[in-house]
C-alpha cells in the first residue's frame, strides 16, 4: 500500500489524469507506430519522416493542423446533436478504461460487475455514431450511420457471448479478479505459466478479437466508413476538431479494447504468481504496481499490432457477407463455446 495518504479529491484528480493518460497514450502510440509507420513499412515506404526524428512529432503536427481547420456545420444539421455526437463516442472510450486493472493496486475502480459494465458502456459509442449519421442531414452520413448501427449491434452479440466463456471459467465478473485468477491457477498441473484463458478459451479469444475488429470498424469490417463509396460515412460532414475527436476515439477505443482483451485472455498485468511464491492478491509485492502497467501496455501493443496488421492486409467485406458472418458463424460458434465451457466447468 502507498505510504502517503492522499485526500479523496486528490485521488479523484489522480484517477482523472490517469484515465486521460491511459486513453490518449495508447491512442497516440497506436496511431504513430502502427497507422503511420507500420502501414508504410508494409507498403514498402517510410511514412512521415520530416516532423521530428523519424517523423515522431507528426502526430502533434496533425493535431495542430486539425485545430486550425474551419468548423463547418451543414445548414440543415440538427445542431445540438451534431455537436454532441463526437463527445458521446469519445466519452464512451474514457468510461471503458475505468474498469481496466493495471496492477494489484493500480486500477481506477474495482468493479464487481466490471465485464458487464464494459460491455454496456462499450455499446454507447454505437449510439453516438448512429446519432452523428442522422444529425448530419446527409445521405452518405445517414447510410453510414445505419450501416454502423447494423454492424455494431450484430457484432456486439458475439463479443458478449465470447466473454461469457471467460466469466464461466473465472466465476467472477470482476476484471481484477479475472486477472488474479488467471495468474494463480494452474493448467494441466503446471503452475509456472499460470492459466491465461487464451489457452482454454481460444475460440472465445478469436471470436472476441474478430468482434473487436468489427466494433472498431477497422478494415475487413469498415463498411460503415467505406471511404470509397460512402465518403467516410457518418464522418462525412465533420471537420476540424470534431473530426479529430472521432479519430482519437477510433484509435483510443482500439487501445482500450486491446487492454480489456489482454486482461480477459492474456493474464493482464500479472506474472504467474508461482514464480514469486505469492498466494493471493494481498501478498503481491508493491513493485508490481510499476511493472504491472508495463506488462499490460506491452500486451496491449501486441494485440493492437494484430488488429492493425489485419486492418492493413484485408479488403473490405460486403454488407451481406458481414451480417452473415456475424449471425451464422460467430454467434453459433460462441454459443457452442459457452456450452462446452459450462459442461467442463460442471464436470471438473
Amino acid at each position: 500500500m502507498l505510504a502517503v495518504t492522499i485526500p479523496y479529491w486528490g485521488q479523484t484528480l489522480l484517477r482523472v489524469l490517469g484515465g486521460i493518460v491511459a486513453v490518449l497514450l495508447p491512442a497516440g502510440a497506436i496511431v504513430y507506430l502502427f497507422l503511420f509507420k507500420m502501414m508504410s513499412f508494409m507498403q514498402s515506404r517510410l511514412g512521415p519522416m520530416e516532423a521530428g526524428p523519424y517523423g515522431s512529432m507528426q502526430l502533434f503536427a496533425e493535431v495542430g493542423k486539425w485545430l486550425q481547420k474551419e468548423d463547418i456545420m451543414p445548414a440543415r444539421a440538427d445542431k445540438y446533436i451534431f455537436r454532441a455526437a463526437p463527445l458521446i463516442v469519445l466519452v464512451s472510450t474514457f468510461l471503458l478504461v475505468a474498469v481496466v486493472p493495471f496492477g494489484p493496486d493500480a486500477y481506477f475502480t474495482n468493479f464487481e460487475v466490471g465485464v458487464f459494465y464494459m460491455l454496456a458502456v462499450g455499446s454507447v459509442s454505437t449510439l453516438g455514431i448512429l446519432v452523428a449519421g442522422w444529425a448530419s442531414a446527409n445521405k452518405y452520413s445517414l447510410l453510414g450511420g445505419l450501416r454502423a448501427a447494423g454492424q455494431l449491434i450484430a457484432y456486439e452479440l458475439p463479443m458478449v457471448l465470447a466473454v461469457v466463456g471467460v466469466i464461466i471459467q473465472a466465476g467472477t465478473m470482476n476484471l481484477q479478479a479475472i486477472v488474479v485468477k488467471q495468474n494463480s491457477d494452474e493448467i494441466f498441473g503446471l503452475d509456472w505459466i499460470g492459466n491465461p484463458y487464451i489457452l482454454t478459451q481460444f475460440i472465445g479469444f478469436a471470436v472476441f478479437m474478430i468482434a473487436v475488429q468489427a466494433e472498431l470498424t477497422q478494415t475487413p469490417f469498415d463498411m460503415p466508413i467505406a471511404e470509397s463509396e460512402l465518403v467516410s460515412g457518418y464522418m462525412t460532414e465533420y471537420s476540424g476538431f470534431r473530426f479529430l475527436m472521432f479519430f482519437i476515439a477510433e484509435f483510443a477505443t482500439a487501445g482500450v479494447f486491446s487492454l480489456i482483451a489482454s486482461a480477459l485472455f492474456l493474464g493482464g498485468w500479472g506474472v504467474p504468481f508461482a514464480w514469486f511464491g505469492w498466494d493471493g492478491v494481498d501478498e503481491i509485492s508493491n513493485w508490481m504496481n510499476i511493472v504491472g502497467p508495463i506488462i499490460m501496455i506491452s500486451k496491449m501493443m501486441l494485440l493492437a499490432f494484430i488488429i492493425m496488421w489485419v486492418r492493413f492486409s484485408y479488403p473490405r467485406f460486403r454488407e451481406d457477407q458481414l451480417q452473415r458472418f456475424a449471425w451464422k458463424v460467430l454467434i453459433p460458434v460462441s454459443l457452442v463455446n459457452i456450452m462446452i465451457t459450462a459442461i467442463l466447468k460442471v464436470a471438473f
Binding site: 507500420m38 508504410s40 513499412f41 508494409m42 507498403q43 514498402s44 515506404r45 517510410l46 519522416m49 496488421w309 489485419v310 492493413f312 492486409s313 484485408y314
Partner: protein
C-alpha cells in the same frame, strides 16, 4: 507441387504484408525521400522540351502541329553576308520569340517529332513547378538553358539503321 499443404489465402495475405514490413526494415523502402535524395529519371523521360535556338528556322511546323496550341513563335528575316565573295546576301530567319506554355502543354512530343531541323529535344528535367500558373510560360532563353540537361541519344538498336543507305 500438388503435395504441398494448401495455405489459406487469409494467412498468405498476412504473410505478404509482414514480409514486406520486414523487408522494408532490413533492405530499406522502395521509395525515395524526395527533396533530400532524387531518383534518376530514365534517359528518354519526357520531363521538359528544350530548344536549340541556332537550329530553329521558325518554320512553324511545331506550332501548327501542337494539339494544345501552346507554342508561340515570332520571327523576322535578316540579310546575312554571302558565303562566297561576290555572291548575293543570304536571307536568314531570326527567332524573336519562342515560348512554350507548360500550363497548356500535354507532353505529347509531337513538336519534337515533327521538327525537321533538330531544334527541339526532350530533357528529363522535371523541377520547374511555379506558384503562379502564368509563370509556366517559358521563353527561348529558359528553353535554351534546358538544352544542357538533354542527354546523349542512346545507340540505335542492331538493325535499326535504314537499309540501302550508305
Amino acid at each position: 507441387m500438388g503435395l504441398k499443404p494448401k495455405v489459406p489465402g487469409l494467412v498468405k495475405g498476412l504473410g505478404v504484408t509482414f514480409n514486406t514490413m520486414m523487408k522494408t526494415f532490413t533492405e530499406g523502402a522502395a521509395t525515395v525521400q524526395y527533396p533530400h535524395e532524387k531518383e534518376a529519371p530514365p534517359v528518354r523521360a519526357r520531363g521538359v522540351i528544350a530548344l536549340r535556338e541556332d537550329n530553329c528556322t521558325s518554320c512553324m511546323l511545331c506550332a501548327r502541329s501542337c494539339p494544345d496550341w501552346c507554342i508561340y513563335i515570332e520571327g523576322h528575316k535578316e540579310l546575312a553576308p554571302p558565303r562566297r565573295a561576290g555572291g548575293a546576301p543570304r536571307k536568314v530567319n531570326k527567332l524573336d520569340r519562342f515560348d512554350i506554355d507548360y500550363a497548356l502543354c500535354m507532353y505529347c512530343g509531337i513538336c519534337v517529332e515533327v521538327c525537321p531541323f533538330d531544334a527541339l529535344f526532350w530533357s528529363p528535367e522535371y523541377e520547374y513547378s511555379e506558384p503562379h500558373i502564368a509563370d509556366l510560360l517559358h521563353d527561348k532563353t529558359k528553353l535554351g538553358e534546358w538544352m544542357e540537361t538533354v542527354p546523349e541519344a542512346p545507340e540505335l538498336e542492331v538493325g535499326a539503321d535504314k537499309k540501302g543507305k550508305k
